[in-house]
């Protein structure tokens, strides 16, 4: 298959290696095993959260899910409250939060297909609704506790010194690859991302695919919240919000077209690594917060414009 010389996934991976090496040179200790594992763990958190975003962006039609942050907070809050330190409640709580996430995503999808609300507006509006739901769940007090098993699963090394969350990430990666490449749903998802008229005239029920995709995104965001809770051990109202924009950035850095129809989860995984490394490096360099934000934003702009140029050259 003749591809443009620079595959975005490869670029992102090279960039990750480069950032890691740069960190090691500038700050001895940055490239240590412990630090590497920590970065991997943070990248895995972002990676899990960005999985649903990948599907939504591939689905095209200006697809974007701004409600992931709020769904993360809701899912973490719900889990926190339901589990309340009891290992036996972990699975039921997980099942329930996934269901709630799915439901929120399906409502997003229905609003977008039936009411023809643009995804940006629909999911932004949903963010407000879900934030309200969080307040309903907490009644103003963050009560509950994390079960020991969750902390062990996510935060501590599970096997071979690799954190459990990284293993979850790898399993999710394989599942995402299977869904995108080896299921009819995946093929139809790419099809509606490129051209919805063609898809419809080829027998694809476009609204169903869209609703399923936003539903999956909501469910994966809920999973992200569950995993994140295992890492942070506590919940607060602003827990998920800082992940919304990085989840989109990770997808785009991974080479998935913002216009839809092309991309994949491997790219998003690499993108999550790049973003996490960048944040960690800027932190390790002890830059002031303001400079960190500027460098972070500037790097994103540079990366995106490089991809944009490549695309323009191809056409």
């Amino acid at each position: 298959m003749k591809r443009p010389k620079l595959n975005p996934v490869v670029i992102a991976l090279l960039l990750a290696v480069l950032l890691f090496a740069l960190g090691g040179i500038l700050r001895p200790g940055f490239a240590s095993h412990a630090q590497a594992m920590n970065i991997l763990r943070l990248a895995a958190l972002l990676g899990v959260i960005a999985a649903g975003q990948t599907l939504v962006i591939i689905s095209g039609g200006e697809g974007i899910d701004l409600s992931v942050g709020a769904v993360i907070t809701l899912s973490a809050t719900l889990t926190y409250r339901l589990v309340n330190g009891d290992n036996g409640m972990v699975l039921p709580a997980l099942g329930l939060t996934l269901l709630v996430g799915l439901l929120i995503g399906v409502i997003n999808g229905l609003g977008i297909t039936l009411l023809r609300i643009p995804p940006l507006v629909m999911t932004l509006g949903m963010t407000g609704v879900v934030q309200g739901l969080v307040l309903v769940v907490t009644q103003g007090q963050m009560q509950g506790a994390v079960a020991p098993i969750m902390a062990r699963l996510v935060a501590r090394p599970l096997a071979l010194g690799i954190p459990g969350v990284v293993l979850i990430w790898v399993v999710l990666g394989v599942a995402m690859w299977l869904v995108l490449q080896r299921t009819a749903y995946g093929k139809r998802l790419f099809a509606i991302g490129v051209n919805r008229t063609t898809a419809r005239l080829s027998g694809v029920r476009v609204p169903r695919v869209v609703v399923a995709t936003y539903g999956l995104s909501g469910m994966l965001a809920a999973l992200g919240g569950f995993v994140l809770l295992g890492y942070t051990q506590i919940v607060f109202l602003n827990l998920g919000a800082p992940y919304t924009l990085p989840s989109i950035a990770a997808v785009v850095i991974g080479g998935t077209l913002l216009s839809g129809g092309q991309g994949g989860y491997a790219g998003t995984m690499a993108g999550a690594l790049v973003l996490t490394l960048l944040t960690s490096l800027l932190t390790a360099l002890q830059m002031p917060e303001s400079a960190r934000q500027i460098v972070y934003g500037g790097t994103l702009l540079v990366l995106l414009s490089v991809y944009g140029r490549q695309r323009a050259l191809r056409q």
Binding site: A184, K187, R188, A191, V194, L201, Q262
Partner: protein, 502 residues
């Protein structure tokens, strides 16, 4: 004593290897209405577009008031006093009637401010020209999006008029107007003519041509083949001039002898531009849909494929069906090759493999058996003689003809019983066309029922067992055997008397 306003002399326009206009010539003087007539693809619109500066000619000359001119853009032609009204509307829906009419030539006052009051008054004066034939809601402040098609067309006409043109081109401008509005337009044209305007009138409606025009310039296959004074010319004579070789008879040699059971029966179907169509289609038969563009052919095919809501009765192999989504039609063995390949038939940036298999994925299991899918796609590519780098190359890397093979191939993989095609060979080169026809004939021989719309009369004559000619959303003539000739096809398309007396 007429002053010559414009002469087009042997204009030539090529698009790639296709000659759209080989020798386009016409003369039009002020105070005169000249009709431009010809069959589909005869070069009428190309000639019109060269005169308005929308298309640059590859050869020939435009002479305005005795001097050779060259319009690099429509603006340049407008400055020379030439304005055009097209059927495919050029209005901005979100702007008001006044803003649309004066777009890009707004009355400007001090400090580059648009004089809105003057604009509104001028618009009201223009709207008065059609007073009584339009609804009272048509005011200068009405947003164009709120207007029905006929009133939009009138705004389009007034927009051209607001330029105070010396030469106005009306390109199928009457198609969406009702008879009162057409009558008013014709009164106005008569008045403008008396005031010294020159008018070029492009229309398929013979009756209107004879009512409005003084002379007719006839185009055939990109060449001006004659000019006739309409006071001394009959309709038949004009039609004969439009048809190559006069009224020569040709028809398909081997008519479908293997015609099978009735596959499709349609009664009283209405959908979009279709206003009551009855038809019947048998297995092993190719039936053509003829007529001018936009007479409901595409909407008929879309409705049969479940992509357009319809009323009326559709029976498939005797069973009444009512599809609300293409997937249902597909399950019933129907396939549809759409007219606009890139926008309706293909996923350009995805691979040939994925394009071929898009309608068929459900057959390869929950976890897709990709090896088998690839084998099937490979076999189809070979059967269609697809020229490609590999199955993984994006469809956008293919030529038009090969891309169209992919659109056909993705349906053949489903082995349809009824194949609907919407002008499938548009923009396809001659070699690929021949292969495409061959594929269709093989399918017909294999017992597939085929309903084909084509804007290419040759194609209908050469390929179809029967042709149904549509006009204004209804079947106006059914041509088969001895009546399946170019002359009958053209005259039935434009509603000339000849075809209906036979």
């Amino acid at each position: 004593m007429h002053q010559i306003a414009l002469t087009a002399h042997q204009l030539v326009k090529r698009y790639g290897g296709v000659v759209a206009l080989a020798d386009g010539s016409l003369e039009v003087r002020s105070g005169e209405v000249v009709a431009l007539v010809g069959a589909n693809g005869s070069g009428k619109s190309t000639l019109g577009k060269i005169i308005t500066g929308a298309v640059a000619p590859d050869g020939g000359q435009l002479i305005l008031d005795g001097r050779a001119v060259h319009f690099p853009s429509p603006q340049a032609a407008r400055r020379a006093g030439i304005a055009a009204v097209y059927q495919d509307l050029s209005l901005v829906p979100d702007l008001t009637v006044a803003e649309n009419i004066w777009l890009a030539h707004e009355p400007i006052g001090w400090g580059w401010r648009v004089r809105r009051g003057a604009m509104r008054e001028a618009t009201a004066r223009l709207l008065d020209l059609f007073a009584g034939t339009v609804r009272s809601t048509l005011t200068p402040e009405t947003p164009v999006a709120a207007l029905p098609p006929d009133e939009r067309q009138i705004v389009e006409i007034l927009k051209a008029l607001s330029l105070n043109p010396r030469l106005m081109i009306l390109d199928e401008a009457t198609a969406s107007l009702d008879s009162n509005q057409v009558a008013r337009l014709f009164e106005l044209v008569a008045r403008w003519k008396a005031e010294g305007m020159a008018v070029i009138f492009v229309s398929h409606r013979m009756e209107e041509i004879f009512r409005l025009a003084d002379r007719a310039v006839v185009l055939r296959s990109g060449q001006t083949v004659g000019t006739r004074d309409l006071r001394t010319t009959s309709e038949q004579e004009l039609v004969a001039l439009m048809i190559e070789g006069g009224l020569a008879v040709e028809s398909r040699s081997a008519a479908g002898a293997t015609r099978g059971a009735e596959r499709l029966r349609v009664a009283g179907l209405r959908a979009g531009a279709v206003r009551g169509v009855d038809l019947s289609l048998h297995d092993g038969e190719i039936v053509g849909l003829g007529g001018l563009r936009g007479q409901g052919q595409t909407d008929l095919l879309l409705a049969l494929f479940g992509a357009l809501p319809f009323t009326g009765e559709v029976r498939l192999a005797g069973q009444p069906v009512r599809f609300t989504h293409p997937s249902q039609a597909m399950e019933a063995g129907i396939a549809f090759v759409p007219g606009d390949r890139t926008r309706e038939g293909l996923l350009p940036i995805r691979s040939i493999l994925e394009n071929l298999l898009l309608p068929s994925w459900h057959r390869y299991g929950a976890l897709l058996r990709l090896t088998q899918a690839r084998r099937d796609a490979q076999a189809m590519a070979q059967r269609l003689n697809l020229v490609m780098e590999s199955l993984d190359a994006p469809v956008s890397s293919l030529s038009g003809g090969n891309a169209q093979k992919v659109v056909l191939g993705k349906w053949l993989l489903r082995e349809p019983r009824l194949l609907l095609l919407d002008d499938p060979t548009k923009g396809v080169d001659v070699g690929a066309k021949r292969e495409f026809y061959q594929s269709l004939e093989e399918l017909r021989d294999a017992g597939v029922a085929i309903l084909l719309y084509s804007s290419d009369d040759e194609e209908l004559l050469g390929l179809c067992d029967r042709v149904l000619v549509l006009r204004d959303g209804q079947v106006r003539a059914e041509l088969a055997g001895p009546t399946l000739t170019r002359a009958e096809l053209v005259s039935a398309s434009i509603g000339a008397l000849m075809g209906e007396t036979s």
